[in-house]
Subunit: 391 residues, 2 copies
């Protein structure tokens, strides 16, 4: 089976999952318009509305680009035309619809609702994220291919480091390596307050700076217009450099963090780093379908407490309250590994585990890997030396 | 006056503009939550809600980061706490509020409305975009500083070009130059369907590929997950390379396009390029406060028709229906230079003018400059050789 055939088959699986969920909730139609969900359902991005009844074929209401080749493509200029076009074809307007209410703006959502003369909408954002969290074999293959490139770039990091560099200068060298290995540049995140450029590199005390954005760690950034990550400071001897750059070499992503140091660093940094590795190993031993995500968080937290590292765990001045997250087309998908999570691991969920510590004046330590949940356990997808790598 | 004092003074000007507009429309309070508008009003980005009554001081309802130093900062976890906190301080809840309804999601907007027990909201998105379109002197200084870096990077482009490169490889070299000159990487655009990474580089026939995104030109991109811009094809002799990479060297941006060619290219390409330059010169002669934006579009279109270039103007398979746009904190601000625009130029509006042509099999030609509207005319901010630059 070639790539195109495999994709078509996979799109059928995805559509069938969504339609089954719609039927279960007595939803007559779903209208998707965000890039990520349109891509997930069609294999491409168009500007318009993917209309899926609970049974049968979708209709593609497209504004742009010209020349979309699907069956059932109808060109429109505005959402108000959707209802007219359906009626022209004697298709009854749905009485219950799913819209991406957690993402699409208030104004546009109301326009779509009034087009359908429907007062209420169920939440397609949550449902699509739930469906997308369990990967198909086709998606897993892309994630694995992405992991190989992610590893290849990280292996080259020591070769681009030069003594006396700033954190931003080192990041720029890594960005170039990423692009030459096929990184598409942007990577998509879900929700507001998730601005980021190609990933995060944190060196020295900058790792302590709290950020407004909802990532594991912060960093001051170089401008108040993007207060995150590397801050333009010279990397000094004894500091650690945490590299958490995007794994966006395929539409389905990987997430991986490795820690480097300039010369030797402090004992407490090595100790905390080893606790991060131990947490990974412990979770690899027990995680499997049916295990609660809160349990994974608790295992991490127990190790942290046992080692008296609470003050450094997931930040100092501001501490993130999770140790991992699902990922795929977006970098932050369900499940989230938090103490209050009610989600359970399921086969083919892909998640990143990132127990990290920030050691004042030294920098951040710890590792992050991407795992897939298998029949009886979890499998590590990002395979690369895990110790602190001395530069 | 140092930078910090100038910023504080400028923030007062911005706030006073917003409050005057609110008073004029009998709006009692405004709640802003998007990064761009929070940054515009406060000089920083926080995750939370900027609450501004129509008179008096703002209150900052902050979720993250820790340690925000404004007067009147109240830490909250969710928008429902805003009303409680106001009531605790004996501040009457507003009966009319402005929310960013064109951007913030349906779900969140409804949560804020029910917090205030208000059924309706006026549109803060449109109002803020209108206010932001007229720049203060402080903003103009930043735009001018940005232009100097934008020019410096473009001057270096011939030095990084190597024969036999692909479009993506050349773009990667330019991206690195940009980052080394202080580009913050991401640049912000308004609305859905505006995904882009650091800008657009179009070489050869790829310039004809239509894109789902709402930019002047398209390009196929390297993946269906980001169908825009360079496509990974080798740049051939006789082709043109249109470089429209981001001018994001300060929070307030510039927009500039220059065209390069590998050796000589076709006569029609030189001719169309000259028409683009002529349009710029014609518009520089007549544009000033009070001139309609539609008039600018019409001047461009008349020159295009007179030269029989309609089939190539702003694309071939898909043609954009504008020749320019305002810009600032976002790359697409009002006004938009379209045939139906009712907007007039005003002093201190900053806009980019980009009459471009796509010549089949050759590539895109034309230039883009950023201008500021002055007392009696317009001033060009992006100053660099305008002819096609031979590589």
């Amino acid at each position: 089976m070639n790539y195109k055939e495999a994709l078509i088959k996979d799109l059928e699986i995805r559509r069938s999952r969504l339609q089954k969920a719609m039927q279960k909730s007595n939803i007559e139609a779903c209208v998707l318009t965000t890039g990520v969900n349109v891509f997930y359902m069609t294999g491409m991005i168009y500007n318009g509305y993917y209309f899926l009844p609970c049974e049968g074929d979708p209709i593609h209401f497209v504004k742009r680009p010209e020349g979309v080749a699907f069956d059932n493509t109808i060109y429109i200029r505005k959402p108000e035309q959707i209802a007219d076009e359906l009626q022209k074809r004697n298709i009854a307007l749905p009485k219950t619809i799913l819209l991406e209410t957690d993402v699409i703006p208030f104004g546009e959502c109301n326009r779509i609702l009034s087009t359908f003369k429907v007062a209420e909408t169920a939440n397609a954002s949550t449902l699509m994220r739930k469906i997308r969290s369990v990967k198909t074999d086709f998606e897993l293959e892309q994630i694995k291919a992405c992991a190989r490139k992610h590893e290849a770039v990280y292996k080259l990091i020591p070769s681009v480091y030069k003594q006396g560099m700033t954190d931003v200068e080192l990041q720029i060298e890594i960005e170039k390596l990423m692009r030459l290995h096929g990184s598409i540049g942007i990577f998509r995140s879900y929700g507001e307050n998730m601005d980021i450029f190609m990933g995060s590199l944190l060196a020295g005390e900058n790792a302590e700076s709290p950020s407004p954005y909802d990532f594991a760690l912060g960093g001051a950034g170089t401008t108040p217009a993007l207060p995150l990550g590397a801050a333009g400071q010279r990397i000094e001897k004894g500091q650690t450099i945490m590299v958490d750059m995007a794994g966006n070499y395929s539409p389905w992503m990987t997430d991986m963090t490795r820690t480097f140091s300039v010369g030797k660093t402090l004992d407490i940094a090595y100790r905390a780093h080893q606790v991060s590795i131990d947490i990974h190993n412990q979770i690899m031993d027990m995680a499997k379908p049916g295990v609660g995500c809160a349990e994974l968080y608790n295992i991490a937290m127990e190790a942290v407490v046992k080692n008296n590292l609470e003050l450094y765990f997931m930040g100092t001045k501001q501490q993130a309250k999770f140790v991992g997250h699902g990922l795929g087309l977006e970098i932050n998908e369900p499940p989230v590994l938090t103490p209050r999570s009610k989600e359970l691991l399921e086969k083919n969920i892909v998640f990143a585990l990132e127990p990290k510590f920030v050691i004042p004046e030294v920098g951040a330590v710890g590792i992050e890997n991407t795992y897939v949940v298998t029949e009886g356990g979890i499998e590590k997808l990002t395979i690369l030396e895990e110790e602190i790598i001395e530069l």
